[in-house]
C-alpha cells in the first residue's frame, strides 16, 4: 500500500501555515536500541493552529511530543520551536524554550506528594516567583478555568482520571504557554469526561489562541476539535462557521504515523476524503 501523495495537500498546508511555524520538525529520526521509532518525520504547525497526531500504539506519537519538548534528542533531523533548533541546546538552554510550552501527559503525571494547588503552583515557584499572593491568584484563576477550584487542597490520589487531566491542563497553562502538547488527553475516560477535556482544549485554542498538538486514538475527539469552536457565551462547543466571520473553523491538520514514518499529513477535509484503505481504518 502506498502512502497518499504528500504533494497533494502541500498547497493547502502552505496557505494555512503562517510565515514562521511555531513548531517544525525536519526529517526527524530516532531509534531505541535496534528499534527505529521515527524515521524522517517532517511537519509544521503555525501559530494558533492545531495538529492532530494519529497512529496505532507504538507508532511514535508520544516520542514525537517528547522530542518537541527537548526531553529526547533525535538521532537525525531538526526540531524547531518558533524558528530555533533545540537539538544542539543543552538542558539548561532548553528551559526558556520549555517555558513557551505546556504538556498534558497521558495519565496527568501529577506529583503525588503535592496537593492540587501545589502541583499547579509548581511551575511558578520554579520560575522564581516569590509573591505568594500572586501565586495564589494565578493558581486560582487556572483552576477556575478548568473548573477544579473546589479541589485545590486535594491530593492527586483523591482525584478521578478526568479530574487529574484537568489539573494537569491547569498546571500546563499556569505560565501561559503559546504551545500546548496533549498526549492522549481523553484516553480511558468516559464520553462525558472526554467531552469536558475536549471543551477545555478548544477553549484554550479559541480563547487564548494557543497552538495545539494533540495525540489521540479517538478520531471523534479529533473531529470535534476540527469542526467545533468554543462559544464563550454558551460555554460550550458549537459547530464551526465555514463561511468565514466569527466562530470560523480553526485550521486543523492531521498527521498519521505508520511504522515511524509520515503516512498522511493534511487537512480535515483531505483526511475525510481519503480513499486509502489504511486511513479508512481510522475513519470507521
Amino acid at each position: 500500500m502506498n502512502p497518499p501523495d504528500a504533494e497533494r495537500s502541500a498547497a493547502s498546508r502552505d496557505r494555512s501555515v503562517s510565515s514562521t511555524p511555531v513548531v517544525e520538525l525536519r526529517h526527524v529520526s530516532i531509534a531505541f536500541e535496534d528499534k527505529q521509532v521515527l524515521d524522517g518525520v517532517s511537519f509544521r504547525v503555525g501559530a494558533g493552529e492545531t495538529l492532530v497526531l494519529l497512529g496505532v500504539t507504538g507508532s511514535g506519537k508520544s516520542v514525537l511530543l517528547k522530542l518537541i519538548l527537548g526531553l529526547l534528542k533525535p538521532d537525525a533531523g531538526e526540531v524547531l520551536i518558533e524558528g530555533q533548533n533545540l537539538v544542539p541546546l543543552s538542558e539548561a538552554q532548553l528551559y526558556p524554550l520549555r517555558q513557551r510550552m505546556g504538556i498534558v501527559f497521558q495519565e496527568g503525571a501529577l506529583f503525588d506528594s503535592l496537593s492540587v494547588h501545589e502541583n499547579v503552583a509548581y511551575r511558578l515557584r520554579e520560575e522564581g516567583l516569590k509573591d505568594e499572593a500572586r501565586i495564589e491568584q494565578q493558581v486560582r484563576e487556572v483552576l477556575r478555568f478548568v473548573e477544579m477550584e473546589q479541589a485545590s487542597e486535594k491530593m492527586p490520589a483523591e482525584l478521578s482520571g478526568g479530574m487529574r487531566r484537568r489539573v494537569s491542563i491547569a498546571r500546563a497553562i499556569v505560565s501561559q504557554p503559546s504551545i500546548m502538547l496533549y498526549d492522549s488527553p481523553t484516553a480511558g475516560l468516559d464520553p462525558v469526561t472526554a467531552h469536558t477535556i475536549n471543551l477545555l482544549i478548544a477553549k484554550l485554542r479559541d480563547v487564548q489562541k494557543v497552538s495545539s498538538l494533540v495525540v489521540t486514538h479517538r478520531l471523534a475527539d479529533a473531529f470535534a476539535l476540527a469542526n467545533y469552536t468554543y462559544s464563550a457565551e454558551k460555554q460550550a462547543l458549537i459547530p464551526a462557521n465555514t463561511d468565514g466571520g466569527p466562530g470560523q473553523r480553526v485550521p486543523t491538520q492531521f498527521l498519521v504515523l505508520r511504522d515511524g514514518a509520515t503516512y498522511f499529513w493534511g487537512s480535515t477535509d483531505e483526511l475525510t476524503a481519503a480513499q486509502d484503505l489504511y486511513l479508512r481504518k481510522f475513519l470507521v
Binding site: 526531553l71 517555558q99 510550552m101 501529577l110 506529583f111
Partner: protein, 259 residues
C-alpha cells in the same frame, strides 16, 4: 559469541559505571550553584536519618550485645574477661558500626529511593518535572545525596555507642564486670586511627546508599514491574558494594601505613 558477550555484558556494565560516575559528579556539583533545594534536603534528612534511627539503634545494641556474649566465652578461658570493653569498642567503631549501619540504611533507603524515583519515572513525573523547568538531578538526587552524607555518619556514631551499650549490659550481667571496668577498657582501647576509619567509612557508604538507589530508580524500565526489579537491584547492589568498598578502603588504609 565473544562479540555478543562483549556487546551484551561488558559494554553495558562499562556504560553503567560511566552513567553512575556522571550521576555522582552532576549531583555533587549541583550543591554549589543555584537553585538549591534546601527544604527537600531537610525532608530527606528526616526520612533517611530520623526514619532509620530505630532500626540502626536496635541493630547496634544487639550487635554489641551478641559480640560481648560470643567473645566472653573465649576470653573467660584465658581469664581475660576484662578485655570485653576493648573488643566490643574496637569491633563496633572500626567495622561493625559503619558497615551494619550502612547495610541497614541501604536496606531501608536505597530501596525506598529506587521505588520512589522509579514510580515517578514510569508515571512520567520525571518528564513532567523537566517540562516544568526543573532539573530532576538537582531536585531529586542532590538532596538525597547530601541528606545521606550528613545523616549516615551521625547514625554510625549512635550505632557505635548503642553497640558499646549492648556490650556493657552483657558484660555487667553475664561477665559480672563493673561498669567502670568495661567503659575504661573500651575508652582506653580506642585510638585516633580507629575513630578516623570508623568515621570516614560512612561518607563513602552514604554515596553508595543514596546514588545506587537514585541510579536504579532513574533507570527503571518496564512499568510497575520494573519498579519492583529496580528496588531489589538497588538493595542487592548497594549492600554488595558497601562490603567490597569496606574491604578495599581498609586495605588502602593499611597499605598507606595508617595503622
Amino acid at each position: 559469541m565473544i562479540n555478543l558477550l562483549i556487546d551484551r555484558f561488558v559494554k553495558r556494565k562499562v556504560l553503567a559505571v560511566q552513567e553512575f560516575t556522571e550521576l555522582l559528579v552532576a549531583s555533587a556539583r549541583h550543591a554549589f550553584n543555584r537553585p538549591r533545594y534546601l527544604v527537600d534536603t531537610l525532608v530527606q534528612m528526616d526520612v533517611i536519618g530520623f526514619g532509620s534511627l530505630p532500626i540502626v539503634l536496635l541493630t547496634g545494641f544487639f550487635t554489641g550485645g551478641v559480640l560481648a556474649l560470643q567473645t566472653y566465652r573465649t576470653l573467660s578461658t584465658f581469664g581475660e574477661t576484662g578485655l570485653l570493653g576493648q573488643v566490643v569498642a574496637l569491633s563496633m567503631v572500626r567495622e561493625l558500626g559503619p558497615v551494619l549501619t550502612a547495610l541497614m540504611v541501604a536496606g531501608r533507603n536505597s530501596s525506598g529511593i529506587a521505588s520512589e524515583l522509579g514510580s515517578m519515572l514510569v508515571s512520567d513525573q520525571i518528564d513532567a518535572m523537566r517540562a516544568l523547568g526543573t532539573d530532576p538531578l538537582r531536585k531529586l538526587v542532590t538532596p538525597r545525596l547530601y541528606a545521606t552524607l550528613v545523616t549516615l555518619p551521625l547514625l554510625t556514631v549512635l550505632a557505635d555507642f548503642f553497640g558499646m551499650l549492648g556490650g556493657a549490659v552483657v558484660s555487667m550481667s553475664t561477665a559480672r564486670l563493673s561498669s567502670a571496668e568495661y567503659w575504661t577498657s573500651a575508652y582506653q582501647a580506642l585510638e585516633f586511627e580507629d575513630v578516623f576509619q570508623g568515621l570516614t567509612k560512612p561518607f563513602f557508604f552514604a554515596v553508595v546508599v543514596a546514588l545506587v538507589g537514585c541510579y536504579f530508580g532513574l533507570h527503571t524500565t518496564g512499568g510497575t514491574e520494573g519498579v519492583g526489579r529496580s528496588t531489589t537491584r538497588a538493595v542487592v547492589v548497594s549492600c554488595v558494594v558497601i562490603l567490597i568498598l569496606d574491604f578495599f578502603y581498609t586495605k588502602f588504609l593499611i597499605a598507606v601505613g595508617f595503622f
